[in-house]
Amino acid sequence: MNQQGMHFEKLKIASFDFTCCEGCQLQFANRESSLPAFFELLDVRAFREISSEKHDDFDMAFVEGSISRSDEIERLQSIRKQAKILVAFGTCACFGGVNSLKNRIPIEESVVEVYGEHPVETLPVQKISDIVQVDLSIPGCPVAKEEVERIVVSLVTGSKVNLPKYPVCVECKQQLNTCMFDLGEICLGSITRAGCNAVCTSGKTPCLGCRGPAEDINFPAFTELVKERGLSENDLREKLGFYNAFEAYRTDET
């Protein structure tokens, strides 16, 4: 591909899933109007969800899901060896995601609860950066395709990859939404990284922080606000723990 006297190479990508719903990978096939142009930028070497071909000469690995089995650890490590760039793709890969809820109960109990008389080997859930070095994180449950497109374009053209550093409130206010706190709900929008276009709060659902903390958040002021408004601290704990994205800020868990 040539443009403005520059030559751009397609990205040789592969996409992999671990413990997840595969919804983030499915986003690769979303936004039909720009789909042909999007795949012009990619040389898909392996991608179970959209192609039966499988090659292992990729440069860039998109990894969806968290890690919850020992064989997953081995597979992730071998992907890391091959990939020049490893991308944590989606909330599960970046933070552990919803799967991390299982870490709240002893592992033996969860196995019995889920598998009954047919137990399987399972580990407490880990995010992929607990196992391997991650070069780029694209959070979201699911990832926002528009953002994925922008990042792919940046990678192809050698531009800087940027995620918004500010919280969801900016995008929420731009859509003239009524603040969820004014509607009596705890919303994590003011501490969560923007880029989702405030999709949940626009649908009157409080933000659960799937995109993780915005940069340099004021966590003490946020918890104080919940207290001052007389809202449930248990609800706050539940929301902060939902995607495990605020792990670094939780001090109340044992």
């Binding site: 497109e149 500010y166 731009q174 606000l225």
Partner: protein, 359 residues
């Protein structure tokens, strides 16, 4: 200015015709807050029945009709080694109904910055010229402090302004367009009684303010208090969420980025309204952040709002609508911050300066 009065039913008819034939926005109730208060916003309206003429104040200002939150400033199309740039300033005509005097004052301030300065904005001009502004007076909310900034009345910057004098609206007609439209409807010259009612209405509004913010000498106080601990105190509360700037009628700061189209055959230059409270507002090339502290960022918002920048001859740009104060989740509001700064200053005056020696 030409003054007329119009009966309320006739006024409704006038508005109805106007909104049916034009892209129009007016105050509508969008939610009921948990405390029972209605939440209003300027929303699309297709008939007079959809407009809440007796609304209080909108949660967000009317700024985005003139300065969109996100705007494509230009498009680029590539041809091998050359490119073309396309810029369009076109803007469709819009009718805005129900702006408060403070909202219109805010537009006049934006005019100062964006039209009367050294670099007028053609994007803003196109929208401002193509927007028909109908103002309406109201009784202040308990926390409105526009009177402290003399923005509770307005005499310019609108096409038509309507004061509620009971059975009728007292109209201040400020454009030939408004005059021509109204010719199709039944209006009258204000009678002696109408003028009395109008004077009473002004007095009632002026006497109804319950919040006062002393803004005298504020520019100099802000300069003197540059290192004040007040900024650490309020900065500790700031979530850096940018809500204050988004709902503000005069915060106009923005960021610009350029992006390739996904087919790499073109690109766009985009503007997004930003806030000086956002963490990376003062990050420069190379990554240095000139304002890494919450309190510093908050301070600069107050500086811009209440001390003014050179762009508009160092005038305060705050109009006293208190939308920022209402929207702030952690209770940061101009009244409290400014009062704190003043106390800081005054306590300093009393404890440090000894009385002149009279012996």
């Amino acid at each position: 200015m030409i003054y007329k009065v119009i009966s309320k039913p006739e006024f409704r008819k006038f508005i109805d015709v106007l909104v049916r034939e034009n892209t129009s926005f007016g105050p509508r109730q969008v939610d009921t807050a948990a405390n029972g208060n209605p939440v209003y916003q300027f929303m699309p309206v297709a008939s007079a029945d959809e407009i809440e003429f007796d609304y209080t104040a909108t949660a967000s200002s009317a700024k985005h009709f003139f300065l969109p939150f996100r705007d494509e400033l230009s498009r680029f199309s590539f041809h091998d080694r050359t490119f073309e740039q396309h810029i369009a300033y076109e803007s469709e005509p819009v009718v805005l109904i129900g702006l408060r005097p403070c909202d219109i004052s805010a537009l006049n301030i934006l005019d100062d910055v964006l039209l009367n300065g050294r670099y007028p904005s053609p994007y803003y001009l196109a929208k401002r010229k193509n927007t028909f502004v109908i103002g309406m007076d109201h009784l202040p909310l308990p926390d409105c402090f526009c009177k402290s900034l003399a923005h509770h009345t307005v005499s310019t910057g609108f096409n038509l302004f309507c004061s509620d004098i009971g059975e009728k609206y007292y109209l201040s007609i400020n454009s030939s367009k408004a005059f021509t439209y109204l010719e199709e409807f039944q209006t009258e010259e204000p009678s002696y009684e109408d003028n009395c009612l109008m004077t009473q209405r002004r007095k009632l509004i002026s006497g109804s303010f319950r919040t006062e913010v002393d803004v005298t000498s504020l520019p100099s106080i802000l300069d003197i208090e540059f290192e004040s601990p007040v900024w650490d105190k309020w900065g500790a509360k700031c979530l850096n969420c940018g809500t204050c700037a988004m709902v503000c009628p005069t915060c106009y700061c923005y960021s610009v980025d350029e992006r390739f189209d996904i087919d790499l055959k073109g690109a766009s230059r985009n503007r997004q309204l930003y806030s000086c409270n956002l963490v990376d507002f003062a990050v420069v090339a190379g990554g240095h952040n000139f304002r890494p502290k919450n309190g510093d960022r908050l301070k600069y918002r107050y500086y811009h709002q209440h001390r003014g920048f050179a762009e508009n001859a160092n005038q305060q740009i705050c109009v006293g609508c208190n939308r920022c104060g209402r929207a702030c989740l952690t209770g940061i509001n101009p009244k409290a911050v400014i009062n704190d700064l003043r106390m800081e200053k005054e306590s300093c005056m009393t404890c440090v300066s000894p009385s002149p020696d009279r012996t």
